[in-house]
């Protein structure tokens, strides 16, 4: 049930100036903090190690998942499996029904965004509220997060002030401290009333069946610990084999994501205390499609730090919504097409300059540019309308490049036709679409050699 990729909506979003100055300034601030924090550790050694641990975990995924399941159950928890987002939502609703829950609090979780969990719970008559401040803001605004780590990065403080004034009936303020206090007060009562808390899982430890969640606000700890029932949503790729692998990732994740040495809270959920219940829903939702192709498998190493977004020149210009799916930036362009189908999101890998900054910044050293190039090829190879004209044009272009004579002939034809094409009041459909957004390169009236001969 991954959110549908809506091509027309993406086109509309791209025309809107929602990539606000606060987005650019925000990512720039993250980068400055990050580079300072990276210098305090042997960054390259850590990322090599993280890459190797993830490679091992993914190569042994089935075995590790079963181990995690057994250990989680031995600690008094219940593991449920979901092939699709739909199944995961059904599990959460069924748990709510079983425990007579009518109100849910939810910590930050990208997987829950994939499932559109809050909306589905509301539709099932269960109140669901986001507790991370950024998520609370975008939920109130009826929007979607624009960044993996900072969901409301696209909104200015004045936007948030107006939103709180309109939706919560409080006097307008654009003071972040005041706005945060309003959210704190509103949400405190929700924790106390909730029958169930949902969190994500940054890491599942196969060895112990325990779950690690990192965050800064304290809402993750409160969502997991306050209500009598805790549900952790975990993608199949979140496993690491052993506890001793964890410090490697803890040292990388906060530095890469927010420029902190460590997040304020690193929760290690050990299992339900007496009188409480804990569930872990292990979700596939397209991940086995990434796994099945050896060339996209590496993207399952992602620890969702958002670092690749912060350095991507495309993301910094267009913001997260323009990618259509839940995940924006280079990682979104790499994982969304295989997860939802190349036919539905094949354009995303083209939203990259292939500058390589994302790979440089990735704390687990995922070769994102190579994956994007590979996905471009897959997108090109799929059958679609207009393909015949495009492939014939490319064949003709290739032929014209084969010999010097053919090249010269093609060039002289292009030189003669280009000015005419530019002056045409009407252009055929595909040519019109192309030229509507691009300027055709100007062809010089003569070649350099012709010019040289003339000059001599």
């Amino acid at each position: 049930m991954m959110r549908a990729f809506d091509r027309q909506k993406v086109a509309r979003d791209l025309r809107r100036p929602h990539a606000s100055p606060s987005l650019a300034e925000g990512v720039q601030r993250s980068l400055e903090h990050k580079h300072a924090a990276q210098r305090q550790v042997d960054w390259q050694a850590l990322r090599r190690r993280a890459h190797a641990i993830k490679a091992y975990a993914i190569a042994n995924l089935g075995e590790l998942l079963v181990r995690f399941e057994n250990e989680f159950a031995a600690r008094g928890g219940t593991v449920l499996w979901a092939r699709t987002g739909q199944e995961a939502v059904e599990h959460v609703v069924a748990i709510c029904r079983k425990h007579a829950v009518t109100s849910v609090v939810k910590g930050k979780s990208m997987l829950s965004e994939e499932l559109d969990l809050c909306a589905h719970l509301q539709a099932a008559g269960i109140e669901a509220v986001e507790t991370d401040l950024g998520e609370f803001i975008v939920q109130l605004a009826g929007q979607r997060p624009s960044h993996i780590v900072a969901p409301a990065l696209h909104l200015s403080r004045a936007d948030v002030g107006e939103l709180f004034h309109d939706e919560l009936g409080v006097p307008f303020t654009d003071d972040p401290k005041g706005l945060s206090a309003i959210a704190r007060e509103r949400l405190r009562t929700r924790y106390l009333a909730a029958g169930l808390g949902v969190t994500g899982a940054n890491f599942g430890i196969a060895e112990t069946g325990t779950i690690v969640v990192v965050e800064n606000e304290g809402n993750g700890g409160m969502s997991a610990g306050t209500p009598p029932v805790h549900v952790a949503l975990m993608g199949i790729e979140k496993l690491i084999p052993r506890l001793e692998d964890l410090p490697v990732f803890l040292q990388l994740l906060a530095r890469a994501g927010t420029g902190q040495k460590l997040t304020t809270y690193t929760h290690h959920f050990l299992g339900p205390e007496p009188g409480k219940a804990a569930y872990c829903i292990i979700v596939d939702a397209g991940r086995t499609a990434l796994l099945a192709d050896p060339k996209t498998r590496e993207s399952l190493y992602c620890i969702r730090c958002g670092a690749c977004l912060n350095v991507c020149p495309i993301y910094r210009r267009v913001g997260g919504w323009a990618y259509g799916g839940v995940y924006g930036g280079p990682i979104g362009a790499a994982i969304t097409p295989p997860m939802v189908g190349i036919g539905a999101a094949g354009e995303l890998p083209f939203a990259s300059t292939l500058c390589g900054a994302c790979r440089e910044e990735c704390p687990v050293d995922i070769d994102l540019p190579q994956q994007l190039v590979y996905l471009r090829r897959r997108a090109f190879e799929r059958p679609r309308s207009g393909r015949i004209i495009e492939s014939r044009a490319m064949r003709a272009f290739a032929k014209s490049m084969m010999t010097l004579g053919a090249y010269r002939r093609a060039l002289s034809i292009a030189r003669a036709l280009a000015p005419i094409a530019e002056r045409l009041p009407w252009k055929p459909a595909w040519l019109g679409a192309w030229m509507g957004r691009r300027s055709a390169p100007r062809i010089a009236p003569q070649t350099f050699k012709e010019w040289w001969r003339q000059r001599a």
Partner: protein, 225 residues
Amino acid sequence: MNARDAILAAIADALRSPAPTRGGASDESASPAAEGAESGPAGAAELASRFRDELALVDGETHFVESAERLPRAVADVVRRLGLSAVIAQSSARASHAASLIDGARIVDSATTMRDVDSADCSILEGRALLADTGSAIVVASTWAERLLPYFPRMCIVVADISDLHSGMTRDALSPFFGPARDRERGEAVIITGPSRTADIEKIIVLGAHGPQNLVVFITGAPGG
């Protein structure tokens, strides 16, 4: 085929084609976590001052106390100075000792209610380990009420001894974080690095987003305490 079997079958099927390898052996995770240098008595002062500086960078405060005997007075003085009236402490010997001179301080027990936790304006927790490199404290909670103490009150006090201080994420330092998991204990272990914070509005840091606005760590037996 149920969801579990279907997912495991899909994984097994997917992994039949091996991934292209590059660099590093895939079994590298079998090697132990990186070991940092542990400090002997000579390094304690340096570690203590590094801890204080790092915690200050994330807006926390460190108080050094000469001995465990003087801890209750030092804690009570801070609580009085800040005008805190409802204090709740973990049931551990060290945390309850730290709260012993505070009027009306409550120690978590089986009769503790959600109201007790929610109405408290200060919590006192035992730090099982301190990490100097990040200014972090490791706290372990095994009951529902103790799990909430790091988050609900406006102020959080952590008490620890100089012998709990480590440089960074070494195996020894993390043993309170990992040990309860290996021993199949329930509840939560948490590494706390500063007071609750958010930067969700224009990346401007605000303290006390949901949890405490103030975090104070008391270290007993510290040089210069």
